[in-house]
Subunit: 647 residues, 2 copies
């Protein structure tokens, strides 16, 4: 049956304790959220004022002023509130909750009598609302508002924000649709689709699901709404001059007819997540088939080894199959986050570990590469190869930064990372009444009720630094349920013991399913062998021919100038290297670094005076290569970086 | 002594007969020039009207109308007249000369009483003249007018055009300079500098040389004139937001302080050519040192193996040392032509064959690659690696065309190629009273007077298809002079015989100097061994690590999809290939194609469903590789192309 077969555990039932993720979650809680609150209130010295909270005050009539910031400035407040909601669930904080409540009250004060709530139009003229759905992000803000309101309701049980959001949704429902007198439009930037499904799960108000379904079904139908809107507004769509045209918005074709992930990557994976939600909520097999097809296109044609997506800066977009340039990549942090969203939904519907594999790949590499180890700086763009001089002097690489930036005028990635990281336990652990799925090995304590009985699982692991995972069951009554442990796709050999006894079953769709009556004190030992391994790309990926990527466990590794000198493209890895992997507590907040034999193209005979010469054969000098986890790059002296190394 | 030590032979004394270049010259004469004349007169059906001739008519008061085209539209007429002049010298054509005379008369009618002559300002308002030297190309048009006038005077002996041009130059001299009341400006797009030196060589009017010298000396002096001009005009320099800033115009520093070729590549090499001219005319050793430095920077850091320059589309510019991407390259045909201009001047001053080597490299590769084999279509951009899908879908490669275009709204490269090709003999043969230099082996008949006696040299060769060159001397009196034959830098082994006797001398600076009394019937046989050879790039060129280029004689070779299938980056050349080079009369109008053993990365196990897998070692299938001369690419079915092949 086409439906979600499992759901994230409630975040208040998990304490993540594994040092790897706990560190990130605490950075978000202690640094990112407070910093962002200051930013939203224009209290960061030297930074361009956000105007976000002020916009709500102006819209509410509490102060005079003009609208400030981007048309989607409201969404910053919503993303912050969503991350706060998650954080409150695993770390209650009455003061933070009070600030959130006050912010929600302010938002409520700004709401129009008919439920409308977008400060850009409320300040600049309500008569213009819903007239530029293509580019003005009204429904994007609505989507983020809903996501935040749902999270806040789950965190606190308070309905106020949920009611505000539902009010705006109902207003949108009155104005948008195919019925006589309504605007036959849909979001220019998707996110509302998945948000509305989450809202419906709580409200069970059919309008909420119907609106999501309508957004999905109407998208890309001919005549294109965005064309009609442009005609009406007498403006031109910027993307019509590119090969993407309306596919920039994934609106060039009905979504069921889309074969290839195209256009703005964040928009795309947000849409596909919404499609998966609607498919699961409406048992729409055709729509789910489109999700599968788009998933396959991304993961077998358009995804970097780091889980990054969006090969081109132009439109921050997917480009075409097998086009995965490492140095001009966009690979936005938010797009990798969106891929995690999409993956989780596909996983929830199929319970197939291949989706969790991609989720893990993106999380451990392309997502957290976006954040500095001190949580204070962020990348939008996550390249796989960097030449510092090119970032400065090659216009086509000007979007590639060498160092993470403190904050952004368009503050999209940092709060998006914040809401993902603070809700990480929901990605790691999912359940239904009979099953508990461990998708990610994060370590910590989880409480769950199965068969009406309280069970506590303690998971200890140093993952991703090693593959030893111990789980202990604590309960007062024997409890029958299935504990499904993911055997990662990257793992070639593993052993699994329950109370010391070797499990000899076969994983189903990537999960070892332990179905038994669990007793207090039951011990599970999972050992995922984690050798350093080499990965090659499909030879249709032009940039990666003759190269390999080094991986260990879920982590992609890279070479950095700090360890290997400059001119990294001159380095070759030995054909059968003897890898030395060792945990280095002082390095980059503690990482397993990998050393291997390699060689460097010989410089002999190349004075500064020669650019070309008769080929003299392959000549190398020996070189020891040091690899660090990709996510941790750019936390030392700025310099070159390289993932795909010649072999 | 710092001066030019040789000069191009007069074009009316040479009949080029070698089939390779004769073909190009006839294409220019019979197709390009007539076609361009139609274009200048807006008679090409379906093409956007040029307005060029009409602008002169409007400016002359012969008809009503607005200015049409680019601010530099006048230069199209001048480039056409220059090419016509060269053509008339080796192929007299009274009708063509009449058309040219009439055009010159029209230009003369448009000239202002004070000599000023730029139709953009004459039509749009003379009060604005000389107010936007940075971007409005007034002095660029002046430069091309002068170049054309000098050529036309040499071709016909008629002074009319020369007087018109000198009139405009003298007007510019009155208005530009450091003297009180003058505008301390210089050209935004260089070319006038070298043109004025050529004018001075005829007029011996000191003002003409002084203006050239002033343009060179004042360029980049602080405070920057272009900054002052922008302030005055209240506008902003587009390039100030890039790392280039005023170096886009080579005007960020005094030219003597410029260490690196920077900015718009065509502008740059035009400037350097002008600097070499002024240095030679004024015995300015410091200025010549700057020329040498910039030359070295280009040829040892920033030049493609094809002689293409200008690594980046952004600003059609040089980027930085060793940055030579093969697929996002600009490599404008005009820039390679400009490099030929620069090379010839350095050669004339130094008589050092290393400059002729670069001249030959650019001519046989990066210049003629700009023109289709039928002379009807042209490339602006000359890439070394092309993936058709990327040209369409990668915004950063949108400037790279798969097929040459019929004409251009900005018709810069085709007429520039025309004027170079129709004056080719002047690059091939240079002389002074005591010496005749053969820089290029083009084949044909040359008349020269040495020691007061008429001498005719007949050169027979199939160069570049083989390295056999026969020269016969014909005279009625024995004549003492030096015949200096270039031994190309690419040539590892050669033999030279005079009347059958082996020459055992040592070339000086790349030239075998045969200094003797030449008698009627003297025979010279030069055999340049021309094996296929492999070339490697300095390992600092990231794009070319692990790759080689195939060359034979002066020609760079490439792989095309038509011969080798698609996915060319999957191909490897054998480490020690046994090359088969054979002339194929039916292929691409007759070329020597090169075949060699190679291999292709194995596709085994790569279904469409996989993007990454565990590395399985190096696996290949055998593949026979076929290389064609680079200049001839894109004359068959459009497809992939690749110069640097993996080895």
């Amino acid at each position: 049956m086409l439906e979600k077969k499992m759901f994230p555990v409630s975040l208040d039932r998990v304490q993540v304790e594994g040092e790897f993720w706990k560190e990130y979650m605490e950075l978000v809680r202690c640094h990112v959220l407070p910093y962002q609150w200051e930013a939203l209130n224009d209290r960061i010295e030297g930074a361009k004022p956000s105007g976000c909270i002020q916009n709500f005050r102006v819209a509410a009539g509490l102060q005079e002023g003009k609208f400030q910031g981007y048309v989607f400035q409201d969404s910053d407040a919503y993303k912050w509130l969503e991350a706060v909601a998650y954080s409150l669930m695993w770390h209650p904080d009455p003061e933070l909750e009070k600030t959130a409540d006050e912010t929600i009250e302010l938002i409520g004060k700004a709401q129009q009598p008919d439920g409308y709530l977008d400060t850009y139009y409320m300040i600049n003229g309500l008569e213009k609302r819903f007239t530029n759905l293509m580019d003005h992000h009204e429904l994007y803000c609505l989507g983020h508002m809903v996501e935040a309101a749902v999270a806040y309701y789950k965190a606190t049980g308070k309905r106020r924000f949920l009611d505000i959001a539902a009010g705006y949704v109902n207003c949108a429902y009155e104005h948008l649709g195919l019925e006589e007198g309504k605007i036959p439009g849909y979001p220019g930037h998707e996110v509302a689709e998945m948000a509305l499904c989450a809202l419906y799960d709580i409200t069970r108000d059919q309008r909420h699901l119907k609106l999501a379904q309508y957004f999905i079904d109407q998208r890309g139908q001919k005549p294109l709404f965005f064309d009609l809107e442009c005609q009406k507004n007498g403006n031109q769509c910027y993307w019509d001059d590119t090969y993407m045209q309306k596919q920039y918005y994934q609106a060039g074709l009905p979504v069921r007819e889309q074969e290839q992930a195209q256009g703005h990557a964040v928009r795309a994976v947000y849409l596909y997540s919404g499609m998966a939600e609607v498919a699961a909520h409406t048992e729409d097999a055709g729509l789910f088939e489109a999700c599968r097809r788009l998933w396959d296109n991304i993961t077998t044609r358009q995804m970097y080894v780091t889980g990054a997506i969006g090969a081109t800066e132009h439109g921050e977009a997917f480009s075409f199959d097998y086009d995965l340039p490492n140095d001009t990549i966009y690979g936005e942090t938010c797009a990798a986050i969106g891929l995690v969203f999409f993956a989780r939904r596909m996983l929830e519907i199929t319970q197939d570990g291949k989706y969790a594999d991609v989720m893990e790949r993106a999380l451990y590499n392309g997502v957290i590469s976006g954040m500095s180890l001190d949580g204070k700086a962020f990348f939008y763009v996550n390249p796989l190869e960097v030449n510092p001089e090119a970032c400065q002097k090659d216009y086509h690489k000007r979007h590639v930064d060498l160092t993470r930036q403190k904050w952004f005028s368009c503050a999209c990635c940092p709060p998006n990372a914040a809401r993902l990281l603070s809700s990480l336990a929901g990605y790691a652990f999912e359940e239904n009444p009979r099953e508990l799925y461990v998708n990610l090995y994060v370590g910590g304590v989880l409480d769950t009720v199965k068969d009406g009985k309280a069970n506590r699982l303690r998971m200890e692991t140093r993952y991703p630094w090693d593959g030893q995972i111990r789980i202990q069951v604590e309960n007062t009554e024997k409890t029958p349920f299935t504990l499904a442990l993911r055997i990662p796709g990257w793992c070639g050999r593993y052993s699994l013991r329950v109370n010391g006894e070797l499990w000899e079953g076969t994983p189903e769709k990537g999960y070892a399913r332990l179905d038994r009556e669990w007793e207090n004190g039951d011990q599970i030992q999972l050992e995922l062998e984690m050798p350093v391994r080499l990965v090659e790309a499909n030879p249709k990926v032009r940039e990666d021919v003759g190269k390999v990527a080094v991986m260990r466990g879920p982590l992609v590794y890279c070479l950095e100038e700090a360890d290997n000198g400059d001119q990294l493209p001159q380095l070759y890895l030995a054909e059968e290297p003897d890898f030395q992997a060792s945990y280095q507590p002082e390095l980059l907040k503690g990482v397993v670094a990998v050393r291997a034999q390699g060689k460097r193209v010989s410089q002999a005979g190349w004075g500064p005076e020669r650019l070309y010469r008769t080929y003299t054969g392959k000549r190398y000098t020996e070189a020891a290569l040091t690899f660090i986890p990709y996510y941790a790059w750019a936390n030392r002296t700025p310099g070159e970086m390289l993932v795909w190394v010649r072999i």
